[in-house]
């Protein structure tokens, strides 16, 4: 009961951010594993930033939930907060890495000359582009929720 009482809006939002970031990486993997233009088109920097963001958020949550008090609690809270400041920036970096890697593909698929659209805009390529867009959108939402969560504390004031 006590532990439930300790769950603050900050914790909830941070956990949501964590879940969204995990979904983002699942969407990414689904996209590059699927048929179409971005099949096998890995973007390792995006993965690095996304995974790093997940780790940082997990650390933030763990640190926030460690049952300590006093100076140690304050130190852990500061460390947890640093993680929550950094995490959204990592997701933004991941978004930009994905956008950079995908922009030429999007240009081919959506903006090719009219006479070649028939061969470019195949169902597989369109689906692949949608997957990549979903990946970008999820990462962006993750970053935004991460920023919002930073406005809420993860520990209840004594």
């Amino acid at each position: 009961m006590n532990s439930i009482k300790k769950i603050t809006p900050g914790i909830i939002l941070t956990v949501i951010t964590l879940l969204l970031s995990v979904i983002s990486i699942i969407v990414y993997n689904t996209n590059i594993a699927g048929e179409g233009y971005f099949h096998n088109a890995a973007v390792s920097n995006a993965v690095k930033f996304n995974v790093l963001g997940i780790v940082v958020l997990a650390v933030a949550i763990v640190l926030a939930l460690v049952p300590v008090e006093g100076v140690l609690a304050k130190v852990l809270t500061i460390l947890s907060d640093v993680c929550r400041i950094v995490a959204p920036a990592l997701f933004i970096a991941a978004v930009l890495a994905i956008v950079t890697a995908r922009v030429e593909g999007f240009a081919f698929i959506y903006f090719s000359n009219v006479e070649v659209l028939q061969e470019v805009q195949t169902p597989a390529n369109i689906s692949s582009a949608h997957g990549a867009i979903a990946n970008i959108v999820f990462l962006a939402i993750t970053a935004v929720v991460g920023i919002v969560s930073a406005f809420f504390s993860t520990r209840k004031e004594a």
Partner: protein, 1050 residues
């Protein structure tokens, strides 16, 4: 309480500002990479150019933009006037001046192809369509038919929103229109509304009575479209009802013929206009056809103003002087080149894949790379070498009319050559010219009767010499007019040729000119052409150009068939021997060459001309005579089989299998590791007007150029070549101007906005098809000047502004961009266009050198051929513009030559282009869309100056993850720094590029980068978020450490 609120607030602000800082910092890098694209989308201008008018070497010939636009319009109208080809004209159907009314039938009559602006067309506000051109010319257009089509088609504006700017974009749409998308060898719907649908779709049942048959001429217009990546497929036609008919898509469909029949029923005369860049199958409407019409005219693919000129021809305002750039045959399956079109896979193409079974490619460890052709032309999907397919161009030099006319000649003059055998016959048991050919190359009727004869021919038999023919044109008509004089030659076909498989067309077009002749008078016109084009390439024995001993018959004629008859008559043959008509002119024999000459044309630009492309021949790889090239000495025994289906080509069976497979995998050059390259260092030498004087402009080998490029760092030398598309970036130690690249074959697609009036001008009003069918190199030159002038007005200096690939078959969807099936017509039109542009300092690069003659699987298909074909067909088409006119740029083909990507094929780029032709210009790849197909080190070593990727500001090979190249992970500074040959070759390539820039209008200008609004936004966000991050993070830390007030109070 205050702390309790401030800590989370400051933490949140810190998180927000950290994210914004990352967004703006990394986003600025991304934006920088795609600056040109962002400028295009957002309408911004990141680079401004300033012209120093006082010292400009290249200045516009036009003082006002109105004058500039008027000059472009004038060329376009003349293209219509000179390019419209009257193919058939019986019963005085044309000119129309004698009739009181015309009835326009066919969807294309009310919206000639192409009707939308873009790559194909300018889109000026004052563009004139065919209907308006008729009405403006005072021709009465039948309102019943017109109203029906206009209402049915319902032309309307289609408004779409630019997804980035939100701005409205307009295009033209119709409820009923012909199909404008060919697709890639897929079903092609011919959507012409058949006559039996007219009344169902709103035409009054008494419509026929509304046409005064006796006084009305029907004009029926039918279109066939084209497009990049598009290829027609034999037997793919679909009719109006959506049913597959199995017919050729280039044949007039039953629905179209029904429209013609309706026109014949309701009008006294019927004229059909062919609105296309592809030769169509029109036996049905030609003489003796089941739907024969009175007149047929070719009008090509129009642009904004060509219809004015077309109507000028149809109404007889000007004499008809256009001629066909392609042979129109009865059945495309009779064309030797069509026997090998499209291509297919090697029998063991899977050998090419890199995988666990075959072994991985050391450049791409553990990456599965397939052999399949990339999706369409645009890559994506699984990694692939795109190397599994091939085609054999076994027709040798016999492309288009050269096959039909030579076989006709041999049927009469050389009966032992089996010309009348069944091989290649589609109309009967034995091959007969008259059955297979409908209208030959060069055919075009004149309204005014005339004669053309050669008065004299001089052959200056040297590699730099000329053939100079004086042609006498006699106007037998009662009106003044222009006339077309065409010069042809028939080379001797000797025993040496037969023994060594040197092929000779019985008739070869050389050049042409237009001449004005008053009624009843005679005028002379001098036609020149370089003598080197008389020579033939002997790839078997002499392994260089040869000039045979014997009689060379020169003749002036209205087309290839008339020319061959003139030659036959000069050799003593008559209709009794099988000629289908008497000669209409004379042929003059030149026999100044008394013995086989293997020397005169074997040195060009001080370079020995010899075989360089043996490995482009499939026989080289199979080690046996797998391919039999078409030879006129045995039409039956050498008529091409299909080398994809009739034989099995197995890579593994080759005695050179390993080498073959490696080349198909793009392993053209192995980067060395034992020869350290010299790092570039700043010596204070710069690319500027004060350093580049007369000597430097004249001599690419002047020491200035070598010193200039020696400053380029290893990273930039390689990086600038392999990332050279969209724009050419500034090199650190060179300070060269930025050069933006532009499209397209109709002229610069960029528009000019007059700031004073707000009026928008489009100068891209050229029609390649009509420029070709004008047969007028002088008009091409004048267009080149206009195109060059427009570059000066637009302040754009490099464009891919003409297409010189040969029309090998009628099926290529991109034929509308090209000139002709004939190398010399292409050569002379290319000469004119590029000469004009070069004189105005504009880099006009023709597309796509090296047999890019089918769009299907163009991004990887291997084209196999022998060296005579290599040199005398596609390459000869480019030679006039690039060598003779000293063109400043060229784009290389997308396909392979032999197993090697044409853009990495040194025999083409270095041996022939750079050395034999002494070409000093920019050499670009086509779109680099597949890193496994395009190999940077191969292209650098071949002599490419810029590989066309589409990012900008990416002159480096260390921009990828871990300091490797952003595209090719196996390239890095460490990987190339120990290969001095590679680095020096890259610097040499850049030297040619910089030398060309110096000799262009670029030297008129300086380019300066300016901050645009989105730069300001990004920089402001970067600064503000940085400050905010520091402040908020500090405050958050202070408030976090500080004991909370409430606690203290407690």
């Amino acid at each position: 309480m205050r702390t309790k609120v401030l800590v989370p607030a400051m933490r949140g602000v810190a998180a927000l500002s950290a994210s914004l800082l990352v967004l703006s910092t990394l986003g600025a890098d991304v934006a920088e990479t795609y600056r040109k694209n962002l400028d295009d989308v957002l309408g911004t201008t990141s680079y401004v150019t300033s012209t120093d008018a006082d010292s400009a070497r290249f200045v516009s010939d036009y003082e006002t933009v109105e004058d500039m636009a008027a000059a472009a319009k004038d060329i376009a109208i003349r293209e219509g006037q000179e390019g419209t080809v009257i193919m058939k004209n019986d019963n005085d159907a044309l000119p129309l001046s004698g009739t009181s009314e015309v009835a326009l039938f066919g969807l294309a009559a009310y919206a000639p192809y192409p009707y939308n602006a873009g790559d194909f067309r300018g889109g000026n506000d004052d563009a004139v369509e065919l209907l308006q051109a008729f009405e403006d010319a005072g021709v009465t257009v039948n309102s019943t038919v017109k109203d029906f089509y206009v209402n049915l088609m319902n032309k309307h504006e289609v408004v779409t929103q630019n997804m980035w700017t939100g701005a409205d974009e307009y295009s033209i749409g119709f409820d009923y229109i012909y199909n404008t998308t060919v697709g890639d060898m897929v079903d092609f719907a011919i959507t012409e509304v058949p006559a039996n649908e007219f009344e169902n779709l709103g035409l009054a049942s008494d419509w026929k009575s509304k046409i005064n048959k006796e006084d009305t001429t029907a004009i029926c217009v039918f279109a066939r479209p084209g497009g990049e990546s598009n290829t027609y497929g034999a037997g793919t036609a679909v009719n109006y009802a959506g049913e597959k008919t199995g017919e050729d898509p280039l044949a007039l469909s039953e629905d179209e013929l029904s429209v013609i029949d309706a026109a014949k029923e309701t009008c006294s005369k019927v004229v059909v206009l062919l609105n296309t860049g592809n030769a169509m199958l029109i036996s049905d409407i030609a003489e003796g056809g089941a739907h024969e019409v009175d007149g047929i005219a070719y009008i090509g693919c129009i642009n904004d103003y060509q219809c004015i000129g077309i109507v000028d021809v149809l109404t007889g305002k000007v004499n008809a002087t256009g001629a066909l750039t392609e042979a129109f045959v009865a059945d495309n399956s009779s064309i030797p080149a069509v026997q090998n079109f499209g291509g297919d896979y090697y029998a063991d193409a899977e050998t090419l894949a890199a995988n666990a079974e075959n072994g991985y490619d050391e450049r791409y460890p553990n990456v599965d790379i397939t052999n399949t052709s990339a999706v369409g032309s645009f890559g994506g999907g699984d990694p692939t070498y795109s190397g599994g397919e091939y085609i054999v161009e076994a027709e040798s030099i016999y492309v288009g009319y050269k096959y039909y006319e030579t076989r006709y000649f041999d049927a009469i003059a050389n009966p032992t050559f089996n010309a009348a055998s069944a091989a290649g016959s589609t109309q009967g048991a034995g091959w007969n010219y008259g059955d297979e050919m409908v209208y030959s190359f060069g055919h075009g009727l004149s309204y005014l009767p005339y004669e053309q004869n050669i008065k004299s021919v001089e052959v200056e038999n040297t590699v730099d010499g000329n053939v100079t023919a004086v042609v006498e044109v006699k106007n037998n008509g009662d009106a003044d007019g222009n006339f077309l004089a065409q010069l042809y030659v028939s080379q001797p076909y000797t025993d040496y040729d037969k023994e060594n498989l040197v092929e000779k067309s019985a008739i070869m077009f050389l050049n042409s000119a237009k001449v004005f002749v008053p009624a009843g008078e005679t005028a002379e016109v001098t036609i020149e052409v370089p003598a080197k084009y008389l020579a033939s390439y002997d790839y078997k024995n002499a392994k260089t150009y040869i000039l045979d001993a014997g009689d060379y018959y020169f003749t002036a004629a209205a087309g290839a068939h008339e020319a061959v008859n003139n030659v036959l008559a000069a050799q003593g043959f008559t209709t009794a021997d099988g000629m289908d008509a008497d000669a209409k002119g004379t042929a003059t024999a030149w026999n100044g060459n008394k013995e086989l000459d293997t020397v005169t044309y074997s040195i060009e630009n001080d370079v020995e001309v010899t075989n360089v492309a043996d490995d482009a021949d499939l026989n080289y790889w199979t080690g046996e005579d797998t391919v039999t090239y078409l030879s006129r000495q045995d039409w039956e025994g050498t008529y091409p089989i299909n080398y994809n289906k009739d034989v099995q080509i197995t890579l593994a069976d080759s005695p050179k299998a390993e080498e073959w497979i490696n080349l198909l995998k793009g392993k053209v050059y192995e980067i060395a590791s034992d020869s350290p390259a010299t790092e570039g260092e700043d010596k204070g030498i710069r690319f500027d007007a004060t350093s580049i004087g007369y000597e430097q402009l004249e001599n690419v080998n002047d020491k200035y150029w070598n010193e200039l490029v020696s400053q380029i760092t290893i990273d930039e030398a390689i990086g600038a070549v392999i990332h050279g598309g969209s724009q050419t970036d500034t090199l650190t130690n060179v300070d060269n101007p930025i050069v933006l690249q532009n499209e397209g074959v109709c002229g610069f697609s960029a528009a000019y906005t007059d700031e004073a009036t707000g009026k928008v001008y489009h100068f891209n009003v050229n029609s390649q098809t009509l420029l070709g069918s004008s047969f007028n190199p002088q008009l091409a030159y004048e267009w080149g000047l206009v195109e060059g002038n427009s570059g000066l007005w637009l302040e754009r200096y490099q464009l891919w502004g003409t297409g010189l690939t040969l029309k090998r078959t009628p099926y290529n969807g991109r034929n509308y961009e090209y000139i002709s099936e004939d190398p010399m017509l292409t050569n002379r039109i290319g000469y004119g266009t590029l000469k004009g542009c070069t004189e105005k300092g504009i880099l006009n690069g023709p597309k796509h050198l090296g047999f890019n003659d089918q769009e299907h699987t163009r991004n990887g298909i291997a084209v196999y051929l022998n060296e005579q074909k290599l040199r005398e067909t596609d390459l000869r088409g480019f030679q006039g513009g690039l060598e003779d006119a000293k063109g400043l740029a060229v784009m290389i083909a997308f396909n392979r030559l032999g197993p090697t990507n044409a853009s990495a094929y040194a025999p083409l780029i270095t041996n022939i282009l750079r050395q034999e032709w002494a070409f000093t210009g920019v050499i670009s790849t086509d779109m680099v869309n597949n890193i496994y197909y395009f190999t940077p080190e191969g292209s650098v070593m071949a002599g490419i100056t810029q590989m066309a990727d589409f990012a900008t500001n990416d002159n480096h090979i260390n921009l990828g993850e871990g300091g490797v190249d952003g595209s090719w992970g196996y390239l890095s500074l460490d990987a190339v720094k120990n290969d001095s040959a590679l680095v020096e070759k890259a610097r040499e390539n850049l030297k040619y590029q910089l030398y060309t820039f110096a000799n262009s209008a670029l030297m008129n200008v300086s380019t300066e980068k300016v901050e645009v609004w989105w730069d300001t936004v990004l920089n402001t966000i970067k600064l503000a978020s940085g400050i905010l991050l520091v402040v908020s993070a500090l405050l958050w830390l202070v408030f976090s450490v500080k004991p909370s007030k409430s606690k203290e109070e407690n």
